[in-house]
Amino acid sequence: MSIIIISADDRAAEGQIGGRTAEILGYGRLGPELLQEIAAKYGVEEGKLAEALEREPSLLRGMPPKKWYYYLSCIEAEVLERLAADKMVCWSLAAHLYVLGISHALRVRIISDIEQRAAALAEENGISLQRAQKILAKQQRQRVQWCQTAYGQDETDPALYDLVINLGQIDPDEAAATIAKAVGYRKFEPMTYSRKCLANLLLAAKVKTRLLETMSDIHVQSRDGRVVVTTKALKRDKQKKTLAIKELAGSVEGVDFVEVHINNDIFSEAAQSLR
């Protein structure tokens, strides 16, 4: 059975269609409710996880980049863990930005009529239509920036998806029925290759999360238990950091071999040489 990942420019529509699709297919639901479980598991605040999914890091708001990346990594690892079980519909957890190259993942983008959304927002908050339009345009800009900073992706790019549905033309129930039908196409069936790709993403996310607990600027790739970690360090700290990474990454279940690539942290070295 396959997995479905839904992304929308309207959070409410995302949840409504995600939930309805899961109901039609009898699949599990993977939505923002998962954050509570993740918060408990990692001993972090649920509100901080939700904030990390919505906003970029900011020292003023008490969300330094190091923490921000760690929170996102916790979410990613837990979402991937659950997706590996198959038969899941996932939304509002940014999975469309990190579940890439998985052939049995049907990726859906839901777009809504911006004018309708602005009218609804204006009515709901007793503001002018023009003001509502400005608010939505600002939210959209911030979202594009967030996607870029967090995952280097543009979520509004239709090429990222297998199916794009316009709620201006198709109602939510019909959208859910369309998604449920599309996932039945044989090309979205899981296979040994796609399951392995997902397992590789999961292992990389687990290792990244373990390392980001104490380190920053960590990139991880994995294949069949072999893990490659890339990071930066001062020349004099290279050996120490390599050993620390090997020990931490090696302690993650499923890791057989760890390769570490350390690039020179030229900015820190330049700063040190000026002292």
């Binding site: 044989r186 040994t192 290759y193």
Partner: protein, 135 residues
């Protein structure tokens, strides 16, 4: 279908057949190995195999053509694609055209044996397969 599974293994790299033939015979399969897709297709014209394992990128005929021709002639045969050039689009195309499974090279003999066991079950002729662990 006879008691033992008949498998046709097609890969233009001789090492693949050399390595996988004994691995599959260990679980009780009868295996014929081909390095040339044209010769493999000639054999398939004469004999029905339960399972065909084929590489995708080959000269003369690619694995997707093999898949289509096998399923045309023997719709019940399970075709397993193996490739060193695995990509999502190719994987999806293979599944859409009727492949039973798709495996990226390099893989362990147990990975293929596991898929063969799954195919045997789907054919209604389950075989005993216990993973031997990592090679």
């Amino acid at each position: 279908m006879s008691e033992r599974l008949d498998i046709l293994l097609l890969d233009d790299e001789p090492i693949v057949g050399k390595r996988l033939k004994p691995a599959l015979e260990k679980i009780g399969c009868r295996v014929e190995v081909f390095e040339n897709p044209v010769e493999a297709m000639a054999r398939l014209e004469k004999k029905k195999f339960d399972i065909v394992v084929t590489d995708i990128r080959m000269d003369e005929m690619d694995g997707l053509q093999v898949l289509e021709r096998v399923l045309d002639k023997w719709p019940e045969t399970k075709v397993i694609m193996i490739t060193g050039y695995a990509m999502m689009a190719l994987a999806r195309e293979s599944m859409e055209k009727g492949a039973f499974d798709f495996i990226a090279k390099p893989f362990r003999p147990d990975d293929l044996r596991r898929v063969i066991a799954k195919a045997a079950k789907a054919l209604g002729s389950p075989i005993d397969f216990t993973p031997a662990g990592r090679a």
